[in-house]
């Protein structure tokens, strides 16, 4: 059944063979980085077009979902996984990393110390998740709060070098506040994920079982031995 090749069962779905081939993808993307670098703001800006100075820890939500009409044949559902507000001491559960296909590592351009932590996050990421073929998942570095003073003291060419040396796919200066470069950064990451996806399509294991309510209900109708 390979991922989500079955398109949305729209009104015309019953018409059978006439349904256009739309490819649907679900991508889990992680957003990691130190406390207060703007991870939640970036997600909120990107998904809900909102920005607020008043930061509140997100309660009860695993991820934000953005649906992208990538092109006429491709629909991308992007799950952006924030680190749950309080897993901030860096002790992420494996559940969080599991099956991610891309990541943003965010630092705050106005606080140099958050840049220093970038590699720690990258190492943690690489040690806990990788693509089925064993290579690291595409990761984009976000220099957030570019509307503020640059404290990290790195020139663009130094940043390019840094990314190259440390396995980042690329980097962007972003501002969730002024909505700078966020769409571009996501687009860049998704392009990379899609490229990976083409080369190494998900081999879906049909035996996997997802426990959920539906199974419970559907199954209670027909008792079998």
């Amino acid at each position: 059944m390979a991922g989500g090749a079955s398109g949305e069962p729209g009104p015309g779905a019953a018409a059978g063979s006439a349904v256009p081939e739309t490819q649907e993808h679900l991508f889990k993307v992680l957003v990691i980085g130190e406390l207060g670098v703007g991870k939640t703001s970036i997600i909120k800006r990107y998904v809900h077009q909102l920005f607020s100075q008043h930061y509140r820890a997100t309660i009860g939500v695993d991820f934000a979902l953005k649906v992208l009409n990538w092109d006429s044949k491709t629909l991308v559902r992007l799950q952006l996984w924030d680190i749950a507000g309080q897993e901030r001491f860096g002790n992420m559960t494996r559940v969080y990393y599991k099956e991610a296909v891309g990541a943003f590592v965010v630092f705050d351009i106005s606080r140099g110390s958050t840049f220093e932590a970038v590699l720690k996050w990258k190492n943690d990421l690489d040690s806990k998740v990788q693509l089925p073929n064993g290579i690291a998942i595409p990761t984009v570095l976000l220099a957030n709060k570019c509307d503020q003073n640059n404290d990290s003291g790195h020139s663009p060419s130094q940043m390019d070098q840094f990314c190259k040396e440390n396995g980042f796919t690329g980097w962007f200066e972003t501002s969730a506040k002024d909505n700078i470069n966020i769409d571009e950064a996501v687009r860049f990451l998704v392009e990379n994920i899609l490229a990976n996806h083409k080369n190494f399509p998900n081999e879906d294991d049909v035996d996997k079982i997802k426990l959920d309510q539906d199974t419970l209900r559907a199954e209670s109708k027909s008792q079998c031995c």
Partner: protein, 669 residues
């Protein structure tokens, strides 16, 4: 990176095992602020799963000498009107750790797990230099030096008795192991270490390959399965925690009889497709199983035997001896003699009812190991605002002398963190608190092998096998074998877990005879014919784990009333014990009381139902009421707080295709 912890919470949970994690998630979901800490650097405590290098680090941890049992400095931090209950500094629940490597170790001494950044690869790369002086072996196999009998038989049982034998073990001349039935004499002559392994045979898996592919392993410390209609499965579904994990069904139930491993037919399809059974046997078995499914309906069929052993009852049931054997050991999974007919029927019924829900056997397991489950509940807790700190030890509980209640903890930094309720996993309590507690022990073995105990068309089988006791009175050994598609071991290997209640001194003594029945040591097999029936043993680990389940609260000395103890894993196959502990805070006096009230209240749809402790109420609501919350029928009548509405928010954000394209939804047609 950690900024300082807040100094106040509603609930502090110490230990990240399954029961503690369930409680933490429950508290967090019901709006309590939760601090969840573990002194270890990983989630799960004795419920954890490890990569191969992670497991080696774990083994090493238990080899290191204990540096004092208790903390020293906390006394100064306790005030006049308070006293402290010290917590344990180093875990004492694991004993008699023994490692045996059978796979050949090739010349490359500096093997590292690919991508093992965070762990301690030093241990892997230079096992010999890190070996404690009392180890019986080294990575290079200079056999002449291996014979010193270093693991003394009289080693105190209180001290973790660690005996890591990396390298090709050799017990020749070793007094206390001379009767070691794993005949190793041949192994002595097999070149290992830097010697001539230039011509590795194809498909032979070497130790360095295991190390290199170490990340592919997720090795459980505790071997359990989920009954497809068990409490844990229900809890996972109803709490939506199941969304964080994926599961598979055990594919085969195996039995062991007269030296052979056989597949036990248990579902209707199995029985009819079985080539091993005669037509008559098929009919007999079907008839009996059908009866068991609703045995209560026909009391006349078993009433007389109710108190007799189940094995005796089976003899009266027109079943051939082999069928009796399989029903007793592999379906009811009970032991000879000790189980009554009524219990046997109940277990058989439970087994049969779980069939077919997700597959042909009653059992489920999470991909990537059991260690996923505590983490799933921890994630849920964190998503609802719980604070997580690993590698964070607690020195003591601070008790207010006047009220007798616990009011705070003092952590390893000396920071005081106050809370209303405290949940502590048993292993954190000291000797002083537990002096009256009688613990049992679990014997465990973890094996890496090169093929399945029972060959089949597909090499991707997951099996459970019960090996009955050799002599009456001893215990059956439960064997669970995972293939690589369970994401718990590398391709070309199988991960085998053995579990039984301890009866002899060490896990190895308890389990080695079963290991010999089912497997052949790698080196030995190599010399024999290629056509060896039994799987080769590549690597083995034995250890004992303390079983702290089923301990009465009153057995702990001086436990303040707002401190609750969670037990570690028990020996049983299912997770009933772990799940039932989520009711732990409401156990004792509260439980019965509130539970009866709860059921009445649901009927009355009253809003002012819980007048007692609000926290206890919220726990009751969060769990007892889950069926109602999830169906969305009785939300308001339960006085559900706004928090529960989050459920409603979740629904639309959940991608439709993450749900199963229900195979059952054929009603449209």
């Amino acid at each position: 990176m950690a900024d300082k912890l807040p100094s106040e919470f509603d609930v502090v949970v110490i230990g990240t095992g399954l029961p503690e994690s369930i409680v933490a998630a429950a508290c967090s979901r019901s709006g309590q602020s939760v601090l969840h800490v573990d002194s270890r650097s990983y989630y799960g405590g004795n419920w954890a799963s490890f990569s191969f290098s992670g497991l080696l680090s774990w083994i090493k941890e238990y080899q290191e000498e204990s540096d004092g049992d208790e903390w020293a400095a906390w006394q100064e931090l306790v005030l006049e009107a308070e006293e402290g209950i010290a917590l344990r500094k180093k875990d004492q629940t694991i004993q008699h750790v023994e490692v045996i490597c059978y796979a050949s170790q090739d010349s490359d001494e500096h093997v590292e797990e690919v991508g093992a950044v965070q762990k301690n690869p030093a241990f892997v790369t230079s096992a010999s230099s890190n070996d404690p002086p009392d180890s019986t072996g080294t990575a290079c196999s200079d056999t002449s030096e291996l014979t010193a009998p270093l693991s003394e038989p009289e080693t105190s049982q209180e001290v973790p008795d660690v005996d890591a034998t990396l390298g090709n073990e050799n017990h020749v001349g070793d007094a206390d192991c001379s009767e070691s039935p794993l005949e190793q004499e041949k192994a002595e002559n097999v070149p290992v270490g830097e010697a001539v392994v230039d011509v590795p045979k194809k498909n032979r898996i070497t130790y360095s390959q295991i190390v290199k592919e170490g990340r592919r392993f997720n090795i459980d410390l505790t071997s359990k399965l989920l009954y497809s209609r068990g409490l844990l499965t229900d809890l996972l579904i109803k709490s939506s925690v199941s969304r964080y994990a994926e599961f598979k069904n055990v594919t085969r139930i195996l039995g062991y009889r007269e030296g052979n491993v056989l597949q036990v037919p248990c579902s209707r399809a199995d029985v009819f497709n079985s080539k091993k059974l005669t037509m008559v046997e098929k009919r007999m078995l079907m008839k009996f199983l059908t009866f068991c499914l609703d045995y209560e309906q026909k009391p006349e069929d078993y009433k007389v035997y109710e108190e007799c052993p189940f094995s005796e009852y089976l003899k009266t049931q027109k079943l051939t001896p082999s069928l009796q054997h399989f029903v007793l050991h592999s379906i009811a999974m009970t032991s000879e003699g000790s189980t009554s007919t009524l219990d046997g029927l109940r277990e058989t019924q439970n087994f049969l009812r779980c069939l077919g829900r997700y597959g042909n056997t009653p059992f489920l397991f999470p991909l990537y190991g059991q260690g996923e489950l505590p983490q799933c509940f921890c994630r849920m807790c964190a998503v609802f605002g719980g604070t997580y700190c690993l590698s964070h030890a607690v020195q003591c509980l601070v008790v207010d002398k006047e009220s007798g209640k616990c009011k705070a903890i003092i952590d390893h930094f000396g920071q005081r963190i106050s809370a209303k309720y405290f949940i502590v996993e048993d292993s954190y309590l000291t000797e002083k608190t537990c002096s009256n507690v009688a613990y049992r022990q679990i014997s465990r073995a973890v094996l890496i092998t090169d093929r399945s105990v029972l060959k089949a068309d597909s090499d991707q089988q997951t099996s459970i096998l019960t090996v009955p006791p050799e002599e009456p009175g001893s215990v059956a050994v439960r064997v669970v074998e995972f293939c690589s598609s369970t994401m718990t071991c590398m391709k070309g290997t199988y991960l085998v877990h053995l579990t039984c209640p301890s009866s002899k001194k060490t896990a190895r003594e308890d389990l080695e005879s079963v290991v010999q029945k089912l497997f052949v040591p790698y080196a030995e097999a190599e010399l024999e014919n290629e056509e060896v029936e039994k799987p080769n043993l590549l690597w083995a680990l034995y250890f004992n784990m303390r079983d702290s389940s089923g301990i009465d609260r009153d057995s702990y000395n001086d436990l303040p009333s707002n401190v609750y103890v969670c037990s570690g894993p028990d020996c049983s196959l299912g997770n009933k014990n772990a799940v039932q502990q989520h009711q732990m805070p409401v156990m004792q006096a509260f439980e019965i009381n509130l539970r009866t009230r709860y059921s009445q209240d649901v009927q009355e749809s009253s809003r002012t139902i819980y007048q007692g402790d609000p926290w206890l109420n919220s726990i009751i609501v969060s769990f007892s009421a889950l069926p109602y919350l999830c169906t969305g029928v009785q939300n308001d009548s339960l006085g559900r707080s706004e928090l529960w509405k989050v459920d409603m928010i979740w629904l639309p954000t959940r991608p439709a295709f993450l749900k199963e394209t229900a195979p059952h939804s054929s009603q449209k047609a």
